[in-house]
């Protein structure tokens, strides 16, 4: 077909009274949107290639650029929305599965935004975090049923390995390959400075990053890429990835074009070969199989590291979590359906899985009912956007939260959702050397530290307002939450009362 039915999503507006034709936009756009026309001494733009990453807008020294939604419209149709029509055109042109990245952008309910936090008034005094100690430290791992002490007060109970976090936050799994070396390094540096953890994802651990091992969670996923004894021993914890919120039920596919150089070496697969992570672990078809892997990993690391099992939030998540809790895992990580990805089939990302809020509430409730809540810690992720989301998650029963999208944003990501193209203009989701250098860890790591530090302050303030002085005391304290605009069913799943009740 010689022509396309698609029209550009965006308009690039260039203010001629500001543009000095410095061509910074042209040099910075890996999508080759901007172009200088020497003959007419003008800057041109090809909107078709624009992904609205706003790199040009940000770097334009005279602020001459704006990227707007293309006002070109299809005839109004509540059923056949413009996006839907365009996707059909695209598939009619390509014959392929639609690919997307980052989290589900569709307007599903966000329960964090329908939940309100309590504060103390009169009878139970609030606490000023600037004046009084406030504990944000958490330990993740199996907690003993009871504590026994000897006569001199020393602990008799043998504790299982715990993951210690200064704030109840971790950077969730993003592999070296899906994100760049510099992005990875920034996360590692920041986690180390913050006393939290980042996560290798299924990309192995680059030898340069072993030094950050105490703050690293090493992941073992269905492709087993980059896994070896040294790798398992390098981390503070090991995560078995069973599923991912953005694409439950499917595996991963990093195309061979991205398996180059260090990525290939770190994953321990030949250059140019596709890295295919199967949908299931081919050795796990039951909780018993999972238990075997959990104990294999424990055995391999002499029971010194907590084992995390990460699953996507799906319909029967409560039963799944119950099974995992009995598999010997120390921590369950649940990834909600708004969680990000470097690439996923659009239909899966946008239609499969359930919101993390509902999954968390039902898992916490189920584990309590079964009396096994203390045998695991719960970590939740899948679009934790602010410290308020963190506080709400903890009140719903989480021990800690995983964040990734927020961390990427801190490093410069503008959520253009084009990671799958591998030409991230912000140097994050790319392996192209000229783009990778756009993330300078000396800039990005402090930004990550700032973000988490700021959230830490806010968490303390929210806790103090409730008259609570530790994360521990908030965990599962659903009395601190009220729903707003939620129906009975939603309230009952979340286990909270409605505002005003």
């Amino acid at each position: 077909m010689a022509f396309t039915l698609l029209f550009p999503d965006f308009d690039i507006l260039r203010d001629p009274n500001r543009c000095i034709k410095c061509r910074v936009c042209e040099r910075q756009c890996a999508n080759e949107v901007h172009q200088y026309d020497e003959e007419h001494d003008i800057m041109l733009a090809d909107e078709n290639k624009c992904v609205d990453c706003q790199r040009c807008v940000t770097l334009c020294p005279t602020k001459a650029l704006r990227i707007c939604e293309n006002e070109q419209v299809f005839r109004k149709n509540a059923n056949w929305r413009a996006q839907t029509i365009k996707e059909i055109y695209r598939q009619a042109e390509s014959g392929g599965v639609l690919l997307s990245s980052m989290g589900n952008p569709e307007p599903f309910p966000v329960y964090w935004d329908k939940t309100l936090i309590n504060a103390s008034q009169v009878t139970n005094p609030s606490i000023d975090p600037l004046r009084e100690p406030m504990e944000t430290k958490v330990f993740l791992g199996k907690k003993p049923e009871m504590i026994e002490r000897s006569a001199d007060g020393t602990l008799k109970t043998e504790l299982t390995p715990q993951l210690e976090l200064k704030v109840p936050l971790m950077f969730s799994a993003m592999s070296f390959g899906s994100i760049s070396y510099n992005a990875h390094k920034s996360l590692a540096m920041a986690a180390t400075e913050l006393g939290i953890c980042y996560n290798t994802g299924e990309g192995g651990l680059h030898e340069d990053f072993y030094q950050y091992g105490k703050n690293t969670i090493v992941q073992v996923a269905s492709g087993r890429f980059g896994v070896h004894k040294g790798y398992l021993e390098a981390g503070a914890a090991i995560e078995i990835k069973m599923g991912q919120g953005a694409k439950p039920g499917i595996g991963g596919h990093l195309p061979g074009t991205k398996i180059v150089g260090e990525v290939s070496r770190t994953r321990m697969i030949p250059e140019g070969s596709d890295a295919i992570s199967p949908a299931p672990h081919h050795d796990i078809y039951s909780i018993e199989d999972l238990r075997q892997l959990v104990y294999s990993l424990k055995e391999a690391t002499r029971y010194a590291k907590p084992i995390i099992v990460k699953v996507a939030a799906v319909h029967n998540i409560a039963a799944i979590a119950s099974g995992i809790a009995r598999s010997g895992a120390d921590i369950i990580a649940i990834d909600g359906f708004r969680g990000g990805t470097g690439a996923a089939p659009t239909r899966i990302r946008d239609n499969v899985g359930i919101p993390i809020e509902l999954a968390l509430a039902s898992v916490d409730a189920r584990l309590r009912e079964e009396g096994i809540r203390n045998s695991v810690s719960l970590v939740v992720g899948g679009s934790i956007r602010s410290s308020a989301d963190v506080v709400k998650a903890i009140a719903l029963g989480a021990d800690a939260c995983y964040i990734a999208t927020a961390a990427l944003l801190a490093m410069g990501c503008h959520l253009c959702r084009s990671c799958q193209a591998g030409k991230c203009n912000w140097g994050i989701a790319t392996q192209q050397p000229d783009l990778v250098k756009r993330v300078n860890p000396d800039i990005a790591a402090p930004r990550l530290v700032n973000l988490i530090t700021a959230w830490g302050h806010e968490i303390k303030e929210l806790l103090g307002g409730m008259g609570i002085n530790s994360i521990e005391a908030l965990r599962g304290n659903r009395l601190m939450l009220r729903g707003i605009g939620l129906n009975e069913k939603e309230l009952s799943i979340l286990g909270i009362a409605h505002a005003g009740e």
């Binding site: 000095i20 410095c22 770097l59 005279t62 250098k437 000396d442």
Partner: protein, 141 residues
């Protein structure tokens, strides 16, 4: 003595430094009014061969060949900073011939120009402020 150091590991080749330099030395308050339809003559230049890129500006050498070669005495080094007196310079180009880094260049109006570390532009070189990736830093070492 604080100096401008350039780390090519982080240079993106965006050339923002060049434009910030040209703007800083224009005397104007808005970059668009300073640089609209102007062929800029910055004191810092990006070299880019498609594989490597980095910016180059005056090193303020301790034994500055431009200063010792200057036939008018317009180039001087004081407190570690080499400056040029545009009124005395006649544009003979001997400094161009002498500078091993190629960092003295004509203003286009008869005299020569070079990086003076923005001494009269607020004290922090604008190329440093304008660099989006810390590839140009102003540090005491």
């Amino acid at each position: 003595m604080k100096r401008v150091y350039v780390n090519e590991e982080w240079c993106l080749g965006c050339r923002l430094c060049e434009y910030h330099c040209a703007f800083a030395n224009s005397g104007k308050t808005h970059m668009a009014s300073a640089l609209m339809n102007v062929k800029i003559r910055p004191n810092i230049r990006v070299e880019d061969d498609g594989k490597v890129c980095y910016a180059v500006s005056c090193r303020h050498c301790e034994e500055p060949l431009c200063v010792t070669s200057c036939i008018t005495g317009a180039l001087t080094r004081e407190n570690g900073v080499i400056t040029i007196d545009g009124a005395r310079c006649v544009g003979c180009f001997t400094c161009v011939l002498s500078c091993p880094y190629g960092c003295v260049r004509p203003t286009g109006q008869g005299a020569m120009q070079k990086c003076e570390l923005c001494l009269t532009n607020g004290g922090v070189p604008r190329c440093v402020i304008g660099c989006p990736n810390n590839a140009i830093v102003f540090e005491e070492r």
